[in-house]
Symmetry: C2
């Protein structure tokens, strides 16, 4: 099979993955005398920070997904192929993809991460991850399906298990999802299901550490805890999940949760591509120097969540796996590859941490910029404004804004649609999963 | 299994299907002393007239689908169950559903139609229908996937087959879809696929009759033909498809079309539920009297596309299978069921034809109201205005309007997303189809 990519005399930069890092890199190279080949297994860029709103019926998929071809419309040195990478043959400067082999002069691995279940029993088969648009849509279907099912049983325990939501992982995703589920409980579902006693709906956030939002300042951790509790989330700290059988979540301390809804946001692992020597990656992240060159290679780079740089004193274990790191690395790498071509000296990466934030339901968020911190309504406005700014595409910004205004005024979540019913076997079983992730794990 | 529907002393009206007919019927009965049980295999109402825009990346699913529970929020005599009807046991006044059996005092069959392939070889397996949101999303994926595939081949015939779209059926759906595909060809895809020669893209509309839009006035038929040709659609009239093997469409006259994209909008059949005597339905439509009572039953009714009423002189073969008939029948039946309960005389149905219309690309439409007819830009504005009016939900109206304005100004279709890649075997093969349509055909 042929990729159909025209041969060229110009240096070819192959970028694997159009997440925040790959996107910034390619956008920083318009009109440059290179051929950019972008490869992604989706034909769209996903704005992952808002996936949880797709799951909770607040936004439709098109609001947070943006066609890659549209982003690069008119960028003449840009070629996109919708495919999956199978292997890197670094000796031949070649990658194998699902649509044929391709040579590169420079290869940039920007594949990001996928959910890490840490091999815990039952999770890969029965827990719901939330890292892709499809997974978010599956979760939305499951939530609604289980409410429909709750109407059909007179067994109270069964009904409670259908209406209980266990979210594992107290990072921003888990916290924001817990908040959004509580909003559904408080404002939307009672009108949809007058036959059900919505007080029975439980949202439990399980975190193995001693606090939520571990990367935040202690004051913000405390504040978000109180926001969560106000909304009705039960927060279980210092609790480690050991097993899930599809109905009961077992934990190390012996506490159990009866639930058909286990959402796993407690870990990620880098999507490492096979073919490079084993020592190139540690725990699913490519070992990179300060230029983002992968260990022992001159023309292979890794950026974003899948890269591990340890040259900065402040980040001895590598940078946090967040969008700003990926974006800054992508922007710098664009310059460095051009410098490499021109044989100019390269510039080391240095992360400029602009701060972090999380929103917890209506009118509430925690935000910190350096040592400045604020929350409440102001934090919530800042959270919304920055997310709108970061969203790709003007139409998407408008559609998201209108949905937010609508939802805010009406205490509503409009998109309570079960378009494709979620069936556990189809979407979560081993064979399909292996197919979806043909970017193999190291 | 139990439906969980509370027993009641009030008359129970069971409505199967929340299309245009079922929706109007249930909406016309608020605060009445009855128990309404609505059953649908989707948890949303679908605005079918705009499905073709979902297929062609102009709208996202949430714009034209509206949660049923939300429509009836606060209507206290209304109960919804997301399930499929298996059988009617008229002797027991009972239906069997996928969530258990249910008794009725009055049963209203408003199941609408599904695609009719007329048993033509290869169609059920290989052609794309477009009657549901899922089918429209599948079609969107297929269109985009085949353009991605066209990039990969150097075989010109193969490439042309990937870029050729055959639409069978010259009714409003086929005509509007052809127009929308031509718009994609003329304005959107060239920028997305600079590597492809978009002049090779063909849109062929195949109609077995001698004109398109057979229910319209001859002048409008001629006008729409010229609109279609202006846009670049090849219109094949008086051509009957005899076979499709997934790559070649065969026709009665011997002409063939090489295409991987065959979209079938050439026929529908009523979704008849099993259990009633055979003579209740003719060619997939329930034989009804002027009160919409199904032949020989007092308390079983059919409305909309699945009903066949022949009492009106103007419609000896039954009413046209369009939304306004269903809506008017639903509204009248609400009154008639109440009259039946109160033992008052019933009112016969009489169809008030408000006219019909179809849009063909940017700025163009044909509209007729009685014998008045107009087209062009005015027709197009009227088409848009009326569709916005008919859409359920204020937020949906806004989101659709914004997308239309955006697309109009920018000559764009934003939603070019392959969220769930279409795989023929998964979606179109016999076993899955059987499951999706457990409302069985007579």
């Amino acid at each position: 099979m042929k990729t159909g990519i025209p041969e060229t005399d110009k240096p070819r930069i192959v970028i694997v993955g159009c997440g925040f890092g790959g996107l910034q890199l390619a956008k920083a190279l318009p009109n440059k005398d290179v051929q950019i080949v972008m490869i992604d297994k989706h034909n769209y860029h996903t704005f992952q920070p808002l996936l949880y709103q797709v799951s909770t019926a607040g936004l439709e998929a098109d609001s947070i997904a943006y066609p890659i071809r549209k982003i690069f419309k008119g960028q003449k040195n840009f070629i996109f192929r919708w495919c999956e990478v199978k292997k890197i043959n670094s000796d031949k400067n070649e990658i194998e993809t699902s649509v044929g082999n391709l040579n590169y002069d420079y290869l940039v691995i920007a594949t990001g991460t996928t959910t890490n279940f840490f091999g815990i029993e039952g999770l890969a088969e029965k827990a719901m991850p939330m890292k892709t648009v499809t997974e978010a849509l599956n979760l939305r279907s499951l939530v609604l399906q289980n409410f429909e099912k709750a109407l059909l049983t007179s067994d109270i325990r069964e009904q409670e298990a259908l209406m209980t939501f266990a979210i594992v992982g107290g990072g921003p995703t888990g916290v924001e999802l817990a908040g959004a589920l509580c909003e559904l409980k408080n404002h939307v579902l009672p009108a949809d299901y007058p036959e059900l006693d919505l007080r029975k709906m439980r949202v439990i956030l399980v975190e193995s550490g001693k606090e939520v939002l571990q990367n935040m300042l202690p004051e913000n951790q405390v504040k978000s805890l109180s926001y969560l509790k106000e909304l009705g989330t039960e927060v279980w700290l210092d609790v480690r999940v050991t097993k899930y059988d599809g109905r009961v979540v077992y934990t190390a301390g012996g506490k159990e949760i009866s639930t058909y809804n286990l959402i796993w946001t407690a870990g990620v692992k880098g999507q490492v591509i096979s073919g490079l020597p084993e020592e190139s990656a540690i725990r699913g992240r490519y070992v990179c120097n300060e230029i983002n060159q992968v260990h022992s290679f001159e023309n292979i780079f890794a950026i974003g969540d899948v890269a591990l740089q340890q040259h900065e004193e402040k980040y001895p274990k590598g940078h946090p796996q967040v969008a700003p790191v990926a974006m800054q690395q992508g922007q710098l790498l664009a310059k460095n590859i051009l410098r490499l071509i021109q044989q100019k000296p390269l510039m080391p990466f240095s992360y400029f941490d602009k701060g972090s934030m999380a929103t917890i339901g209506r009118n509430k968020a925690v935000v910190q910029v350096n040592n400045m911190k604020f929350g409440g309504f102001l934090g919530w406005l800042v959270w919304m404004g920055l997310h709108l700014l970061m969203l790709v595409g003007f139409r998407n910004k408008i559609v998201v804004l209108i949905n937010w205004i609508w939802n805010y005024i009406n205490y509503d979540r409009n998109i309570r649609l079960i378009i494709r019913p979620y069936e556990q076997k189809q979407n979560n079983s081993a064979p399909i999963k292996a197919k979806e992730l043909s970017i193999t794990q190291s």
